[in-house]
Amino acid sequence: MITVFERPKSLTSAKTHYCPGCTHGIIHRLVAEVIDELGVREKTIGVSPVGCSVLAYNYFNLDMQQAAHGRAPAVATGIKRVNRDKVVFTYQGDGDLASIGTAEIIHAAARGENFTTIFVNNAIYGMTGGQMAPTTLLEQVSQTSPQGRDPSLQGYPIRMSEMLATIDGAVFIARVSVHNPQEVSKAKKAIKKAFELQQAGRGFTLIEVLSTCPTNWGLSPREALKWLADKMIPVYPLGVKKTPEEGEI
């Protein structure tokens, strides 16, 4: 018998604190698998955000820094400028990256900082108990949009990937999802491509991963996957938003 699937080396054996069915766990694993496959575990430095994934430093079997809320791209800039030959990534939620950390992610992209961002968009603030995120859908109920998000009061969802794709320093931007095994495979491919471009010194790369928050969506884990597919994807279309010209790589 050969093993076709087991825990990647770049994950520790710690049990996560994530809620049952929360897809943060899948995304962690994908990142770890990619690091394993590229053989860069001992030269990778990760940055965990403030959000449900704040404790990612306990789960990745890597050198890690824990960054202030929204500032992971700045922290990663500091790390990468010192460790030019290492692989650096940030792992950030939508509150972290698309709200308080808007300036940091945009300017890391504009500077073409040579690291990779894994952007976990679950359309909610998970850790603090379900407040509206910039990515919360119209009509979605949250603790701070109790009547459902109303554009005249709370504005419109932001499509970060599309926005970041307008920036010259960003070389690869893609939106993926993890709501079924096929999409999980695609997500992994995109993450791998981003890391490879980083290794080639190409500049800023970001993978937006649509993710579930069953707890704060008030759904079962399985319902949450369906909600993601049915409600989120129409607003946040999957696909590559920016990529280096064909043949360039």
Binding site: R41, E42, K43, T44, I45, V47, V54, L55, Y57, F60, N61, L62, D63, M64, Q65, Q66, A67, A68, R71, A74, V75, A76, T77, G78, I79, K80, R81, V82, N83, K86, V87, A103, E104, I106, H107, R111
Partner: protein, 357 residues
């Protein structure tokens, strides 16, 4: 070495380079802009990196990342920018990372003005950010001292794994004075940093972190930090000038102390037994030296470019044993020797009368 004339900001920047600083992250603000201007040119020459961050917040968090990776790294700013860095500074203190932060103070509050002031004293020494932490705070009074303290700042930062603040002001940043730079020591010994994130090659992962969800753990961490702050007391420094027999002691730091020093001579010329105590470390405050300097004193006057901040620490550290008076200017105004002499004479007269009673 020969003395050269240098602008304070540039001398400080060059001194940082000679202390092994290779990374600077900052954002423009008057009156410290010559620091980034200088380093934007200079750092690439020595294989270092200068990044103009998108904001002071980004800058301090870049410092966090670079310091966590083991580099000698600094940032600099003034009033509003330093306020914006408070969260980041608290994180750096919490994660016990070494770095140097320069504040070339200007008048506040709010946008305030851009002329020299010392109104960020409390922010520097009491911790303007949240949580129980302290910075080591160094207050140079001349450009030479700024240069000398820069090397010291990096050493202390590494030794204590704590952020060190150099608290200057617009005068020290903008003026030119004669200065002798330390040699470019290529064999500079920077302590090894086995805790830094460099990729977990052949070892267990290093984690840079300030989160402790278990309150007992966080309490332990806090007590560890407190011990460190206690330890730092041994680093306290102050300068005394003619205090041996001084019946009146002026206390001031930085630019204000320069003026106070001139007053000591002028006062002595008038037959008044005046002396000066100048704290060089503002945290830890040089309590013993201050007390010693004030042994003979009937009165103490703080000379400060703030509304009465230093005075609180002086009273506290003198334990209210000697009356402490305030003599200051604010908002970009500089105390003049005339202001201070006037204050001294009022006190001298009062005392004369007091003695008659």
């Amino acid at each position: 070495m020969v003395k050269v004339l240098m602008k304070g900001n540039e001398a400080l920047a060059e001194a940082a380079v000679r202390a092994g600083c290779r990374y600077f992250f900052g954002y423009p603000i008057t009156p410290q802009n010559e620091i980034p201007h200088y380093l934007a040119k200079r750092l690439p020459e020595v294989g270092g990196v200068f990044v103009q961050a998108e904001s002071e917040i980004a800058a301090i968090n870049m410092v966090y990342g670079a310091a966590g990776s083991g580099a000698r790294v600094m940032t600099s700013s003034s009033g509003p920018g330093i306020s914006l860095k408070q969260e980041g500074i608290s994180y750096i203190a919490g994660a016990e990372l070494p770095c140097v932060i320069v504040n070339m103070q200007r008048g506040g509050p709010g946008l305030g003005g851009i002329q020299p002031a010392q109104s960020d004293y409390f922010q520097a020494v009491k911790g303007g950010g949240h949580g129980d932490y302290r910075l080591l705070v160094l207050a140079p009074a001349t450009i030479q001292e700024m240069v000398d303290l820069m090397g010291k700042a990096f050493d202390l930062a590494d030794e204590y794994r704590n952020p060190v603040m150099i608290l200057g002001d617009g005068i020290l940043g903008q003026m030119m004075e004669a200065v002798e730079l330390p040699s470019e020591d290529l064999s500079l010994k920077i302590p090894s940093k086995p805790w830094a994130t460099t990729g977990a090659k052949g070892r267990t992962p290093n984690i840079i972190n300030s989160l402790y969800l278990d309150p007992l753990e966080l309490e332990k961490h806090n007590l560890h930090l407190r011990n460190k702050y206690e330890q730092m007391r041994q680093e306290s420094m102050g300068e005394t000038y003619k205090t041996e027999d001084a019946e009146l002691v002026l206390v001031g730091y930085g630019s204000a102390a320069r003026v106070a020093k001139a007053v000591v001579d002028q006062g002595r010329a008038r037959g008044l037994k005046v002396g000066l105590f100048r704290p060089i470390t503002l945290f830890p405050f040089p309590k013993d030296d201050l007390q010693k300097a004030c042994r003979q004193a009937n009165d103490v006057i703080t000379v400060e470019m703030s509304l009465g901040q230093l005075i609180e620490d002086v009273r506290y550290n003198l334990e209210f044993k000697v009356p402490v008076h305030y003599c200051g200017r604010v908002g970009g105004m500089i105390p003049t020797t005339r202001d201070i002499l006037a204050k001294i004479e009022v006190l001298a007269n009062l005392q004369g009368e007091g003695e008659k009673v």
